[in-house]
Amino acid sequence: MELAEIGIKFALVAIIFGISLVVAMYSTYAERKIAAFFQDRVGPNRAGPFGILQPLADGAKMFLKEEIIPTNATPFLFIVGPSLAILTACIASAVIPWGQNVVIAGRTIPLQVTDINVGILYIFGVVSLGVYGVMIGGWASNNKYSLLGAIRAASQNISYEISMGLSIIALLLVTGTLSLGEIAQQQHGWHWNVIYQPVGFLLFLICSFAETNRTPFDLPECETELVGGYHTEYSSMKLGFYLFAEYINMFISSAVMVTLYWGSYNYPGMDYMNELLGATWGPLFGFAVMFTKVLLFIFFFMWVRWTIPRFRYDQLMDLGWKVLIPLAIANIVVTGIWITFFS
């Protein structure tokens, strides 16, 4: 690989990293504004016009607060926990295709950092690794509430990973590839996978709510029962990392859902637009389309959070094991029969 290519890849990584951080930052702001709207309040409006500088103020506050490590905690693991949470949140974006190849100054640049041929499985691996951040942090705090939160997170993630994996298998039967780049290409125009896999999408959506620990499945940090859940003992930026990781995860899982089911960067009439805008601006417009879809999903996450109350823990487990897994298996069987007889 020549030096220029390495430079371009590096720039791409930096841009994607920057975008995910900015999106996560402004998700906190959007969440508070949306919550305020739902509850007929004003929301943050002091820092800058419409409170637009609130995330920066929050960030500064987080960094400047006193750092507390409890006396009986395991100091090294106490720091590893949040670091691992933010690390796993950031590395998942590497395999997501953000757009078609862009031609800039005569050079074709793919808008995907790497198209490994087991892309979906890579995302699964990273997601399943994410639970360690919560578990290690919760255990190292040496606090009963933290430990209970960590254990809830572990059992919840494992249970919902199964139905998530099964919902993906049905999708793989349709697409026939594990590479996210190819899956995105196959959905050209309006041939989005959600048309062929509506049940699979619904299952995936529910499971990604559970995997990102968002309401109605935010039992690991259920404040009515567990004080603050796994991050009870955390303060300053270490707490900030946990909260930030949740918003990055939300962004990434929205991006994965858009890539797998909602047509990625494709939209009806994209060929016409590509001819009209040329090889540089056409794909970039596709990127903007994809980004809009991702933001809509992030809004959906927040909409659900401020609308639906939290599940009880046994209800969560019942839903995961007795409803979602049988439904996912039935979906695979139906998809298999359909493919065998009708195509």
Partner: protein, 169 residues
């Protein structure tokens, strides 16, 4: 090749830490690192699918359950059973004999010729799936029956005491 030696060194290093760590939770964390180095080994051997499955199943699921169980058990110095001196001596003696046997058997061992793969892309998902579902279909399906029986056994063990009142969460 130097990458291999470095990763192999890390594997051995972490697996020694697994058995020498005082705290059981720490030793599970070292075990996770050990499995991570195995994943890198698989990638070095161009076995992408195996690498990622090792990553998801072992690191992402099985060891999470290990950690989960260990966190629930109250393991500390007070509850640890203290073995009598004679038992310890017998253990050291037995392990010493085992080491002598291993060393002597290793000495007589000749280096085997390295296996050369006819198809270097065998580890990719497509090739692996074709091999598994054509040539090795029967062993593959039989092993799934094995897993099923393990699952049924676990359920049976968990619900053995039907006379006692059911625990409610």
């Amino acid at each position: 090749m130097s990458t291999f030696y470095f990763i192999a060194f890390l594997s051995i290093f972490f697996s020694i830490l697994v058995i020498s760590a005082k705290n059981p939770v720490h030793s599970i964390l070292y075990l996770i690192l050990t499995f991570f180095t195995f994943t890198i080994h698989y990638i070095l051997m161009n076995a992408q699918f195996l690498a990622i499955v090792n990553f998801i199943v072992y690191m992402g699921a099985i060891l999470v359950l290990f950690l989960y169980t260990l966190m629930l058990i109250n393991l500390n110095k007070e509850s640890e059973p203290v073995k009598p001196f004679m038992v310890k001596l017998a253990a050291v003696f037995g392990a010493g004999i085992l080491m002598v046997a291993l060393v002597s058997s290793l000495k007589s061992l000749g280096a085997s010729a390295p296996v050369v793969l006819t198809n270097p892309n065998l580890g990719l998902v497509k090739n692996l799936g074709k091999v598994l579902f054509n040539e090795f279909l029967l062993p593959f399906e039989v092993s799934s029956v094995l897993l099923l029986s393990a699952m049924v056994g676990a359920v049976l063990l968990a619900t053995k005491d039907s006379k006692e009142p059911k625990a409610t969460i």
